[in-house]
C-alpha cells in the first residue's frame, strides 16, 4: 500500500512537473489584452451593445458555447431524470421528519424574494455582473429551499420540463432569427441595440438571458427535485 502510494505520489509529482512546465519560459503577468480581448474591449459597444463584456462574450461572441453549456445542463437534467425515474409511485409519503415551523415559515417568506432576486440578476445580466446562469442558479436555490423545508412539497415535473423546453426552444429560435434577420447564428443585432447601458438594450441579449435564466433555474430545480424524490424509493 505504501509502495503503491509512493509510486502514485511520484506519478503525481511528474504530472505536477508537466503543469508547472506550462509556466516555464517567459511567463509573467499579462500587461495588456490579447488581440481578441482588445477587439472586444474596443468594439463590443458597437457590435453588441452590452456594457458587461462578459455577457457580451458569453451570449453573443461565444453564443455557441453558451448554447452548448445550456445543452449540457439540459442533458444532465434529462439523464438524471431518466436514471432516477422511479418505478414506484411518486406519491409515497415522505418518510422524513417534517421541517420545523420556523423553517417552513421562513421558506415561505424567502422563496419569492429569492426568485425576484434571481430574476433581477438575469434581467440585468448585460449591464452588471450576473446573467442567465447566475440568475437561474439563484432561482433554483429558492426551489431547493422549498423542497428541503417542506416535506410534502411537490413540484410538477410537467411544468418544470415545459419551462425547460420552451426556454431552450426559444433560445434556438432566437439563434435562428439571427441567421435570418442578421448576420449569423445567435447574432443579437436582429433587435435594435437600443440605448447603451439601459435595460432594454443590447439587442437580443436580455431576452436570451431571460430564457437561459428560466432554463437553468428549471433544470437545476429538476435535478434537485429528482434527487429528492428518489429518496423515497427503497434504499
Amino acid at each position: 500500500m505504501i509502495l503503491r502510494n509512493s509510486l502514485l505520489f511520484l506519478l503525481l509529482i511528474a504530472f505536477a512537473a508537466i503543469i508547472i512546465s506550462l509556466f516555464s519560459t517567459n511567463y509573467s503577468e499579462a500587461e495588456q489584452l490579447g488581440i481578441v480581448a482588445k477587439h472586444y474591449a474596443e468594439n463590443a459597444k458597437a457590435e453588441v451593445g452590452a456594457p458587461n463584456l462578459v455577457s457580451a462574450v458569453v451570449v453573443t461572441y461565444r453564443g455557441l458555447d453558451t448554447l452548448g453549456e445550456v445543452v449540457i445542463l439540459f442533458l444532465t437534467a434529462a439523464i438524471i431524470g431518466f436514471m432516477l425515474k422511479s418505478k414506484h409511485s411518486v406519491n409515497n409519503s415522505d418518510k422524513r421528519i417534517k421541517g420545523s415551523e420556523i423553517l417552513e415559515t421562513a421558506a415561505n417568506a424567502l422563496v419569492p424574494i429569492i426568485i425576484l432576486f434571481g430574476s433581477y440578476i438575469f434581467i440585468n445580466g448585460h449591464l452588471s455582473p450576473g446573467g442567465g446562469f447566475q440568475g437561474g442558479a439563484v432561482i433554483a436555490s429558492a426551489f431547493v429551499l422549498l423542497v428541503m423545508a417542506k416535506a410534502n412539497a411537490k413540484l410538477s415535473h410537467k411544468i418544470i420540463s415545459f419551462t425547460e423546453s420552451v426556454s431552450g426552444f426559444s433560445f434556438v429560435i432566437i439563434g435562428v432569427l439571427g441567421i435570418i434577420l442578421a448576420a449569423g447564428f445567435l447574432d443579437n443585432t436582429f433587435l435594435p441595440l437600443g440605448k447603451y447601458g439601459s435595460i432594454i438594450s443590447a439587442g437580443a441579449i436580455p431576452i436570451i438571458y431571460i430564457f437561459i435564466g428560466l432554463k437553468v433555474g428549471s433544470e437545476l430545480t429538476s435535478i434537485v427535485n429528482n434527487l429528492k424524490e428518489s429518496q423515497n424509493i427503497e434504499i
Binding site: 502514485l8 506519478l11 503525481l12 511528474a14 504530472f15 508537466i18 503543469i19 512546465s21 506550462l22 516555464s24 519560459t25 517567459n26 499579462a30 489584452l33 490579447g34 488581440i35 481578441v36 480581448a37 477587439h39 472586444y40 468594439n43 457590435e47 453573443t60 461572441y61 461565444r62 453564443g63 455557441l64 458555447d65 448554447l67 452548448g68 453549456e69 445543452v71 449540457i72 439540459f74 442533458l75 434529462a78 439523464i79 431524470g81 431518466f82 436514471m83 410537467k158 420540463s161 415545459f162 425547460e164 423546453s165 420552451v166 431552450g168 426552444f169 434556438v172 435562428v176 439571427g178 441567421i179 442578421a182 448576420a183 449569423g184 447564428f185 445567435l186 447574432d187 443579437n188 443585432t189
Partner: protein, 1042 residues
C-alpha cells in the same frame, strides 16, 4: 444548399421540443427525433456530394455576425462533410436500430442521442478550441447517459468509469486550451502559428496537453480500460455510437491538429497508435465476450488510424486515401457487427451459433468481418495496400511489421469467432424475429461497405483496372442460392468455362498451363457437383469466388491485381474448407497460414515499389533494393499455399475434412496457386543471394524435407483422405524442389508434376471421396475388399497411384526421370537421393491406400454398397483418359512445356526425336516403353488366362489359415497401423514437431495476452492512474525525456 448550422438547429430544436412530449406521444417524439437525424444526414450528405462534384465550395460559417477569431466559426469542407456524413449516418441508423428500446426508455434517451450526434457534428466542424471542449463534453455527457440505457450494475460501473475518465481528460484538455489562449491570445485553431511549436517551452506543453487529451479520448493503449469496460457493459447499439461515431469525430479532431504537431509528437502518436493496434488485437486473443472483443478490435482499428495520422507527413497525398479507407471500413463494419451483436445478445462468442439460423445476418457478419480484416473488395483492402506501399517507400519496415502483425492477430480472433458461428454445435433456440428497423441499418452498412469498396478502387490509380466481373458473377450466385444444385452447377460450369474461353486468346506459356489447371480443372471438379441432391446452399458463391481469385491470378498484370486475386482465392477457399465436418480448427489454421502468407506477399510487393515506378508485376524483374528480402517474403507467402514443411500443418485437416468434391478443388487445384506464384516470382527475379548463399538452395532442401516428411506422414495415417492430404504436401515438396533447381529440367519436372498432381490427386480424392460417400467413414481399416463393389473407383485409384509412384510406363515416371537428370546437371546429389527416397516412401502409402480400401477383406456391413455416383466417376475417367495419352505420348505434354521454359532457362533442354527424349545424361522413350510393357503384359496375361481357363472362384474366407477358417473380416483385414514396424524404425521423423512448434507459438501469444490484459483490473481508479501515467510517459517521450 442548407447551411450546416441547421444541423445544430434541427437537432437542438427537436431535443428541446421533446420536452413538450409526454410518455403518450413518445412514438411521435421519437419519429421526430429520427427526422431531425435524417435531416442532418441529408444536409451533410448534400454538402459531401456538392463538394465532391465541385458544385459547392468549402464554406466558413460564422456565428454572432462577427468574423473569427472574435466569434466562433464552423467550417464545412470535404473532410467535414465526409465525417459529419459518417456520424449522422450512424446517428440516424443507430437511432432507428434502437428505436423500440429508446421508446421504451422514454424521451430522455432520444435527447441524449440527439445531443451526442449534435455534439459530434460540431466537434468535427468547429474551428474554435473552447467550443471543441464544450461540445466534446456534450457528447461525453450524452454518451454517459446512453451507456446506462439498460440500467444494471454492469452498465452503471462502466458508465461511471467512463465519466470519471473523460472528466479528467476533459479537464486536462481545458488546461491546455486556456494556456493556449494565454500564449496566443486567440482560441481559433487557424490563428495558432504553425511550425515546431512544441519546442517552445510552456507553449509546447499547452499544445501537448491538447493533443494528448484528444489522443486519450481515442482510447490509446494502455490508458483505455474505461473504454473497453464501456463496450462490455453497455448495450451493443450504444457501442456503435462510441466506436463508430465518437471515434470518427475525434480522429478528425486529431487530423485538424496535425499542423500543431512536432515531429517528435507525431512520432509518439504513431508509436502509440501502433502499440494500441497491436496490443488491443493481442489482448483480443483471450477475449470471449463479443462486445468487449469488438471493443478491442475497435480500439485497435482506431489505433491504426492514429498511427496513420502520426505518419501523415510521410504518406504524402496518399494520406487521406489511406485514412478514409481504413476509417470508413471501421465505421461501417464495426457498426454492423455491434448491431448484429445487439440482436444476438449472447455474452460468449461460443454461444453465437444461434446466428447461423439467420442466413442473411450470417452473410452480413461475414461481410463486416472480412471488411475489417482488409479483404477485397472492401475499402480497407485498398487502404492497407496503399499504407504498406507508402511505408515501404519510406523505408519504415518496422511499421509494416507492426501493422501486419496487428492485422494478423485481429484475424486470429475474428476468424475463430466466425468458425464458432459457422461450425460449433448449434443452439436449439431459434432467433427472435427481427424487426425491419434492426435489419435495415445492418444491410445498409453492408451495402455501403461494398459500394465504398468499389468507390475506393475506382479512385485508385491502379485498382480501377481490376476486373470485378468474376466477383460479381460469384456474388450473383448468392441470389440464386435457393435454386436446386443441378441448375446452379450448370451455371457455374458455364460461367467458369466462358471465362476460360474469353481468357484463352491472351494466354501464353505458364499462364496457359495454370489457367488450364485452375479453370478447366475447376470445370472437371465441378462436374462432380451434379452428384449432390438438394440445394447445397452456400457452396457455389464460395467456389466461384475461389475460381474468380484463381483466374484473377492468371489475369493479373500488376502486383495489386495479383494480391487482390490472391486474397479472393483465399477467402473463397476458406469458406469451402469450413463447410467440411469437424473443420473448425483446420479452417482457422488454413486461414491464419494463408493470411500470414498473404501479408508476407503484401510486404514484399510493398518493398518492390521502392525505387521503382508503377506496380506492374514486371517491377519484380528490376529491383534495385531489398531483392533478397522480397524473394524470401514472396517465397514464404507462396509456400503457405504449397504447404511446404513448416507451413503445412493446416493442410491435412483442411483437405481431409472437406467435402468430396471440395477436396480436389482445394488440394489438386488450389495448391497450384502457390506454385504459380513461385514460378512468376522466379521468372521475374531469378535466383537471389543472401550472405553469399543462393536462396533457392535452401528452397531445394526445404522441398526435399517436405517431400520426405509429407510422404512419411502419409504412410502413417489411418484416415484415407488425410493420407491423400499428406501426400499432396509431399508431392508439392517435389515441385518446390524442382523449381528450386532453377534449371530447365528442374522446371520441366516441376511443371509436369504440377500437372500430373492435379490429375492424379483429383481422381484420388474423388475416388476416395466416392468411397467415403458410400461408406460414411474415412478410416481405412474400416474399409476393405471394395474392389468387388466399386470396381470403377478401384481402377481409377490403381492408375492414379501408378502415376503418383512414378512407375513406368505411366507418365509419373517422366517427373522422376527429369528430376534425376536435373540433379545430375545441377550437382545436388544428396538432395536428389533424398528426393528419390521420398519417392520410394510414396510406395508405402500408395499400397496402403489401395490395399486397405479396395483389397483384403470385405466387411459384412459393406456387402450392399453400391459403386460411387456416376457424376463422381465421370471426372475421374475424363482425367484418366488424358493421363494415358500423356503417358504414351510424353512429348505432347513435355515438349510444349519445355518450349515455354526455354526463354527463361535455355540450358539443358531436352532434345526430342519423336517420342524419344534425350537429356545430357540419358534417354527415354515413353511410347516404346508403353508398347513394350503392354506387349509383355498382354502376352503374359493371355498365357495365364489360357492356362487357367478352368479356374474356380472361391469365397472370401477360403484362404490358407493355419488349418482354421477366419470368420470375421475385421480381424482378418490387416490394415490398422499398417506400417507399425516402419513407425518404430523412423517414427522419430514423424513426431508432430512442427505442429508442436506452432501450438507453442499460439500458446505463448495467448499467455502473453492473458498476462497483459490483467492491467485492466476493472477498477475505475486504476484507469485514472493509467491516464495520468500515459500523459507523463508521452510527455517524456515528446520532450526527449527518454
Amino acid at each position: 444548399m442548407v447551411t450546416p448550422i441547421y444541423i445544430i438547429v434541427a437537432l437542438l430544436g427537436v431535443a428541446f421540443a421533446l420536452g413538450f412530449s409526454g410518455q403518450k406521444q413518445i412514438k411521435a417524439a421519437g419519429t421526430l427525433a429520427l427526422g431531425a437525424l435524417a435531416f442532418s444526414l441529408f444536409v451533410s450528405l448534400e454538402w459531401l456530394i456538392g463538394l465532391y462534384t465541385e458544385t459547392y465550395k468549402s464554406t466558413q460559417i460564422f456565428t454572432a455576425g462577427v468574423n473569427p477569431p472574435f466569434s466562433i466559426n464552423l467550417f464545412m469542407g470535404t473532410g467535414e462533410a465526409l465525417f459529419t456524413t459518417l456520424i449522422n449516418f450512424i446517428g440516424l441508423f443507430g437511432g432507428l436500430y434502437l428505436f423500440n428500446k429508446l421508446i421504451k426508455k422514454g424521451r430522455s434517451t432520444f435527447i441524449a442521442l440527439l445531443m451526442l450526434i449534435m455534439g459530434l457534428n460540431v466537434v468535427v466542424m468547429t474551428r474554435d478550441m473552447f467550443n471543441l471542449f464544450v461540445f466534446l463534453e456534450i457528447s461525453s455527457v450524452a454518451t454517459a447517459g446512453l451507456i446506462i440505457l439498460n440500467q444494471n450494475k454492469k452498465s452503471l460501473a462502466a458508465g461511471f468509469k467512463y465519466i470519471i475518465a473523460t472528466g479528467i481528460i476533459a479537464g486536462i484538455l481545458l488546461i491546455g486550451i486556456i494556456f493556449m489562449y494565454r500564449f496566443t491570445g486567440s482560441l481559433n485553431i487557424d490563428d495558432i502559428p504553425t511550425g515546431n511549436l512544441l519546442m517552445i517551452k510552456g507553449f509546447g506543453t499547452a499544445i501537448f496537453l491538447i493533443l494528448t487529451s484528444i489522443l486519450l479520448e481515442l482510447k490509446p493503449f494502455p490508458a483505455n480500460g474505461w473504454g473497453l469496460d464501456v463496450y462490455q457493459g453497455t448495450h451493443a447499439g450504444i457501442s456503435v455510437f462510441i466506436s463508430a461515431a465518437s471515434g470518427t469525430a475525434l480522429l478528425y479532431v486529431l487530423y485538424k491538429f496535425i499542423p500543431l504537431m512536432s515531429p517528435s509528437f507525431a512520432f509518439a502518436l504513431s508509436l502509440v497508435g501502433g502499440l494500441t493496434f497491436i496490443a488491443s488485437n493481442l489482448l483480443g486473443l483471450k477475449q470471449t465476450h463479443p462486445n468487449r472483443l469488438l471493443g478491442y478490435s475497435s480500439i485497435g482499428q482506431i489505433g491504426l488510424v492514429v498511427l496513420v495520422i502520426g505518419l501523415a507527413p510521410y504518406l504524402g497525398d496518399k494520406f487521406e486515401y489511406i485514412a478514409i479507407a481504413l476509417l470508413g471500413t471501421h465505421v461501417f463494419a464495426k457498426a454492423g457487427l455491434f448491431w448484429i451483436s445487439g440482436i444476438i445478445q449472447k455474452d460468449n462468442i461460443r454461444k453465437w451459433t444461434i446466428l447461423r439460423k439467420n442466413k442473411l445476418l450470417t452473410i452480413l457478419f461475414g461481410v463486416f468481418m472480412l471488411a475489417l480484416l482488409g479483404f477485397p473488395p472492401f475499402p480497407s483492402f485498398f487502404g492497407k495496400w496503399e499504407l504498406i506501399t507508402e511505408l515501404a517507400g519510406n523505408g519504415f519496415i518496422s511499421w509494416m511489421v507492426i501493422i501486419l502483425l496487428g492485422s494478423f492477430l485481429e484475424a486470429v480472433y475474428l476468424f475463430r469467432w466466425l468458425g464458432y458461428i459457422l461450425k460449433l454445435e448449434a443452439a436449439k433456440k431459434e432467433l427472435q424475429p427481427i424487426s425491419w428497423n434492426k435489419y435495415l441499418p445492418i444491410i445498409i452498412s453492408a451495402i455501403l461497405l461494398i459500394a465504398s469498396g468499389f468507390g475506393m478502387s475506382y479512385l485508385h490509380e491502379h485498382a480501377k483496372f481490376i476486373n470485378y466481373i468474376p466477383l460479381i458473377v460469384a456474388a450473383a450466385f448468392i441470389l440464386i442460392d435457393r435454386l436446386p444444385v443441378f441448375i446452379k452447377n450448370t451455371l457455374a460450369i458455364a460461367s467458369v468455362g466462358l471465362w476460360y474461353y474469353m481468357m484463352y486468346p491472351d494466354l501464353e506459356e505458364f499462364r496457359l498451363i495454370f489457367a488450364t489447371i485452375f479453370l478447366v480443372g475447376g470445370i472437371i471438379t465441378l462436374l462432380a457437383g451434379y452428384a449432390y441432391k438438394g440445394k447445397r446452399q452456400g457452396f457455389y458463391p464460395m467456389a466461384l469466388i475461389m475460381f474468380a481469385g484463381l483466374g484473377g491470378l492468371i489475369e493479373a498484370k500488376t502486383t495489386l491485381e495479383f494480391f487482390f486475386a490472391w486474397e479472393l482465392m483465399t477467402i473463397g477457399s476458406y469458406f469451402l474448407i469450413i463447410r467440411g465436418k469437424k473443420s473448425i480448427s483446420h479452417a482457422l489454421s488454413y486461414m491464419l497460414f494463408s493470411l500470414g502468407g498473404a501479408y508476407a506477399i503484401l510486404a514484399a510487393f510493398g518493398l518492390a515499389t521502392v525505387n521503382n515506378t508503377g506496380i506492374s508485376l514486371d517491377i519484380l524483374a528490376n529491383l534495385n533494393i531489398y531483392a533478397p528480402a522480397i524473394f524470401i517474403l514472396l517465397a514464404i507467402g507462396f509456400m503457405t499455399k504449397t504447404a511446404s514443411l513448416g507451413l503445412h500443418i493446416w493442410l491435412p485437416g483442411a483437405h481431409a475434412e472437406a467435402e468430396t468434391d471440395v477436396s480436389p478443388m482445394v488440394s489438386a487445384i488450389l495448391l497450384k496457386a502457390g506454385l504459380f506464384g513461385l514460378i512468376v516470382m522466379m521468372i521475374k527475379m531469378g535466383d537471389q543471394m543472401i550472405f553469399g548463399l543462393s536462396i533457392s538452395y535452401f528452397l531445394g532442401w526445404l522441398g526435399v524435407f517436405t517431400a520426405i516428411i509429407g510422404n512419411l506422414m502419409a504412410a502413417l495415417q489411418e484416415d484415407a483422405k488425410r493420407l491423400l492430404a499428406y501426400s499432396s504436401i509431399g508431392v508439392l515438396g517435389y515441385a518446390l524442389f524442382g523449381l528450386a533447381l532453377m534449371s530447365h529440367l528442374g522446371w520441366l519436372g516441376a511443371t509436369s508434376i504440377a500437372i500430373t498432381h492435379f490429375m492424379f490427386k483429383t481422381t484420388l480424392f474423388l475416388a476416395i471421396g466416392g468411397v467415403v460417400w458410400r461408406l460414411k467413414t474415412k478410416n481405412m481399416y474400416q474399409m476393405g475388399g471394395l474392389i468387388k463393389k466399386m470396381p470403377f473407383s478401384f481402377i481409377s485409384v490403381l492408375i492414379s497411384i501408378i502415376v503418383l509412384a512414378g512407375i513406368p510406363p505411366l507418365t509419373g515416371f517422366a517427373g522422376k526421370w527429369l528430376f534425376f537428370n536435373a540433379i545430375m546437371e545441377k550437382g545436388w546429389y544428396l538432395q536428389g537421393a533424398l528426393i528419390s527416397f521420398a519417392g520410394v516412401i510414396a510406395f508405402l502409402y500408395c499400397f496402403r491406400l489401395i490395399h486397405s480400401v479396395f483389397l483384403g477383406q470385405l466387411k459384412d456391413e459393406h456387402r450392399n454398397v453400391k459403386e460411387a455416383p456416376f457424376w463422381i466417376l465421370l471426372p475421374q475417367y475424363i482425367i484418366l483418359g488424358v493421363l494415358i495419352i500423356f503417358s504414351a505420348f510424353p512429348n505432347s505434354l513435355l515438349k510444349p512445356i519445355g518450349e515455354f521454359i526455354t526463354p527463361y532457362l535455355p540450358n539443358g533442354a531436352l532434345v526430342w526425336d519423336g517420342q524419344m527424349a534425350y537429356s545430357l545424361y540419358g534417354y527415354w522413350n515413353g511410347e516404346l516403353i508403353m508398347y513394350a510393357v503392354v506387349g509383355i503384359f498382354v502376352a503374359v496375361l493371355l498365357w495365364i488366362i489360357f492356362w487357367n481357363r478352368k479356374i474356380k472362384k472361391v469365397k472370401q474366407f477360403d484362404i490358407v489359415y493355419a488349418a482354421e477358417r477366419p470368420f470375421l473380416p475385421e480381424t482378418t483385414h490387416y490394415a490398422y497401423n499398417f506400417f507399425a514396424h516402419y513407425k518404430k524404425a523412423v517414427g522419430i521423423l514423424a513426431q508432430p514437431m512442427i505442429s508442436n512448434f506452432w501450438e507453442g507459438v499460439s500458446e505463448i501469444g495467448h499467455s502473453v495476452s492473458d498476462k497483459i490484459r490483467r492491467i485492466y483490473n476493472g477498477s475505475g481508479q486504476a484507469y485514472l492512474i493509467h491516464i495520468i501515467g500515459f500523459i507523463v510517459i508521452i510527455f517524456l517521450f515528446t520532450f526527449g525525456g527518454f
